[in-house]
């Protein structure tokens, strides 16, 4: 029974959450030092603003300690399951356990100190202690990355990765702090006044972080990818490309925000800074979360350099292009009996026989799902036409409910409800099935929620669930595992899923912006082409593209 995917998924998912928590701690510390200047004789911000910053830091530290602890526990449990016993001494002796445990303790210490700081933010001694604990917390991270297992340039790679992580943390932590400050502004006049200054100041700190991010990311990419084939023919390379695309998007938002800040500085015009920038920052946060999850997923991939020369492990560019090539979707499925007949051979270790029926079953599932999504996309486009004749098109999210019913029966034919493997056994015994079950539930929830949001004015609260669920779906796709396949087949499949994950994150950010920039409307009515409408259309276009990728999907026979 395969559990690879679930453990892989949990590891990547926890890894992403750990990176986010780490960024909240480290980024908040840089924010406090350089934006709020808490170490200066007279800090630049009032105690309420500093308290808010410390709250974010404390939240990050508590989350980091908990997640790091959970990760150590889960890894121990996984080892127990894999080995049939848990050699505790050997496990505790690994550098991974020791660095992770140390990081957990340090995060706990930071959380305690931050709690004390909340009572009196002017205590320099506490700030110094906080800094003192943060240094080993950052350094411990060096033993938790890819580089630690490398044979060559180990120490240099560990150091560069550390700096790379720290730069990302400054960026994301700063963005989180900006959002916390904006929210504080609803109740605190000084926070409102401090807002433009924070944007300007963070522009400088953020730029330094981005430069450092690129300066450290480039040598890492060169070292771990090393070749053109490695970039386009391996999972590692594919994820790096996706990360770069999202990075460019996040940078575009950062640039828009920075320009708005500069305009305010030069002319005093603060309209955009208050009306739009907070929402752009929220969208930037969505994208940065996507990037951090990709970074976590990268750590579970073998570096391209190690497999790029092996044609059995690396895909060629034509093989990848083939996955995206338009063709007629499969609208005929093999029978369930044919699928089951091929299963024993497909999952055998010795004398494995690839199952044509399983491949065609999967192609059919993907292609029909693609037809669902592209049709919904086209309907959604129509719903933006400001004419009563197209009001019916606003019910396009109902397609998600249909899709979820289809997925419920079809996604894993060898399992319940169609196959002989029971619900619990299949859901928690196979990571891929587990992810498919989540996706099914997600599609159903999306349908119910979004129909209400698009058609009812009184559904204000649920409107934001759609982009949040889309982002979650995107993360699911970015960390999607097909561990039953060999590396090459896994990558060929992963190339489509990663692209869809990227589009789902864009879809989430687009819909979020649409809602935030045009509050009160069920959706932009399209009468005026403004940022809200463009964002909404971009979200729909992303969904349409996801649909087309699925419609042309062909699984490699393996």
């Amino acid at each position: 029974m395969y559990m690879q995917g679930l453990a892989n998924f949990i590891d990547d998912f926890l890894g992403g959450l750990i990176l986010i928590s780490y960024a909240l701690v480290v980024g908040s510390l840089f924010w406090s030092a350089f934006i709020l200047k808490v170490w200066a004789k007279e800090p630049l911000a009032n105690p309420a603003i500093i308290r808010r910053a410390v709250s974010v830091l404390r939240f990050g530290a508590i989350a980091l300690a908990s997640l790091q602890g959970i990760k150590l526990l889960i890894k121990g449990m996984v080892l127990w399951g894999v080995l049939g016993e848990l050699p505790i001494q050997d496990y505790c002796g690994t550098v991974q356990f020791q660095a992770g445990f140390l990081r957990m303790l340090l995060a706990l210490g930071i959380a305690l100190l931050a709690g004390k700081l909340l009572l009196d933010t002017r205590q320099k001694k506490l700030w110094n202690l906080l800094l003192l604990l943060s240094i080993p917390l950052v350094i411990a991270g060096a033993w938790l990355v890819h580089a630690v297992g490398r044979f060559e340039h180990r120490e240099i790679l560990m150091t560069i990765t550390l700096l790379h992580q720290m730069s990302a943390a400054i960026w994301f932590g700063g963005v989180a702090q900006l959002l916390a400050l904006w929210r504080l502004g609803y109740q605190d006049e000084e926070a409102r006044l401090f807002w433009p200054h924070a944007i300007i100041r963070f522009g400088i700190l953020g730029a330094v972080a981005v430069v450092m991010l690129l300066m450290t990311g480039l040598p890492l990419a060169i070292n771990y990818i090393a070749s053109f084939e490695g970039l386009f023919g391996t999972g590692y390379g594919g994820l790096v490309i996706t990360k770069v695309v999202l990075l460019i998007l996040a940078l575009a938002f950062a640039l828009i925000n920075h320009r708005a800040g500069r305009r305010w500085k030069e002319s005093g015009e603060a309209g955009a800074l208050k009306r739009k920038v907070p929402y752009y920052i929220e969208a930037e946060a969505f994208i940065l979360v996507g990037i951090l999850f990709i970074a976590a997923t990268l750590s579970s991939q073998p570096p391209s350099e190690d497999i790029a020369k092996n044609p059995e492990l690396t895909a060629t560019i034509p093989e990848v292009v083939e996955m995206f090539t338009p063709r007629l979707p499969k609208i005929h499925s093999p029978s369930h009996d044919q699928l089951l007949a091929g299963e024993a051979g497909r999952v055998a270790v010795v004398n494995k026989i690839p199952s044509v029926a399983a491949t065609e079953w999967s192609d059919y599932n993907h292609n029909i799902s693609g037809i669902f999504l592209t049709t919904m996309g086209l309907m959604a486009f129509l719903s933006y036409i400001p004419s009563p004749a197209f009001r019916w098109a606003r019910y396009w999210p109902l397609g998600f409910i249909g899709l979820s019913i289809f997925l419920f029966f079809r996604s894993d034919g060898e399992t319940w409800p169609l196959g002989p493997i029971g619900f619990w056994e299949s859901t928690f015994g196979n990571g891929e099935v587990f992810q498919h079950r989540i996706a099914t539930l997600l599609a159903f929830a999306l349908g119910i929620i979004e129909v209400r949001a698009r058609t009812r004015l009184d559904a204000q609260k649920v409107r934001y669930m759609f982009p949040i669920l889309c982002a979650f779906g995107g993360i699911l796709l970015l960390t999607h595992a097909h561990a039953e396949f060999e590396l090459k087949s896994e990558y060929i499949i992963q190339s489509t899923h990663t692209t869809m994950g990227l589009l789902a994150v864009i879809m989430a950010a687009g819909r979020w912006l649409e809602l935030r920039l045009a509050p009160g409307a069920t959706q932009s009515d399209g009468t005026v082409i403004n940022e809200a409408t463009i964002s909404g259309l971009l979200a729909i276009f992303s969904m349409f593209l996801i649909g087309t990728i699925m419609m042309f999907y062909r699984e490699p026979l393996f």
Partner: protein
């Protein structure tokens, strides 16, 4: 509280079962075999053989397991030891009858990733 301690003991006894149920096998697909003696030299029938696998990363031997899998997917634990080179794993295989086999490895890499994979091979008469 004897009742509580009994419950605790029962829960502890159930833990491995629970773990096996939830997470019977796993792969954090990171460590990959970059070199294998199986690719260079075929295994001779009726001769004990030492298979050499070279991984792209350091491997924690105490937290790794290797199995010889014979036809019908029957698993036999294999003895493993560290090789001379970094990342090198030596697998002692017994004398084998001609036929199809696989090596299933579950290795814990130094960067904390668990990898599970199969290498299939054929023993000629």
């Amino acid at each position: 509280m004897p009742f509580l301690s009994l419950r605790l003991k029962a829960a502890l006894r159930l833990m491995p079962l629970l773990v096996c149920l939830i997470m019977p096998s796993v792969s954090f697909s990171h460590a990959v075999v970059t070199e294998s003696s199986l690719a260079k030299e075929a295994i001779k029938a009726h001769h004990p053989t030492k298979v050499v696998l070279l991984f792209n990363t350091h491997v924690e031997l105490a937290l790794s397991r290797v199995f010889l899998v014979s036809a019908g997917d029957i698993f036999h634990p294999a003895e493993i030891s560290r090789g001379h080179r970094a990342g090198e794993l030596l697998i002692q295989l017994p004398s084998l009858e001609p036929g199809d086999y696989a090596i299933k490895y579950k290795v814990f890499a130094a960067d904390g990733h668990l990898t599970e994979n199969n290498i299939r091979f054929h023993v000629a008469p």
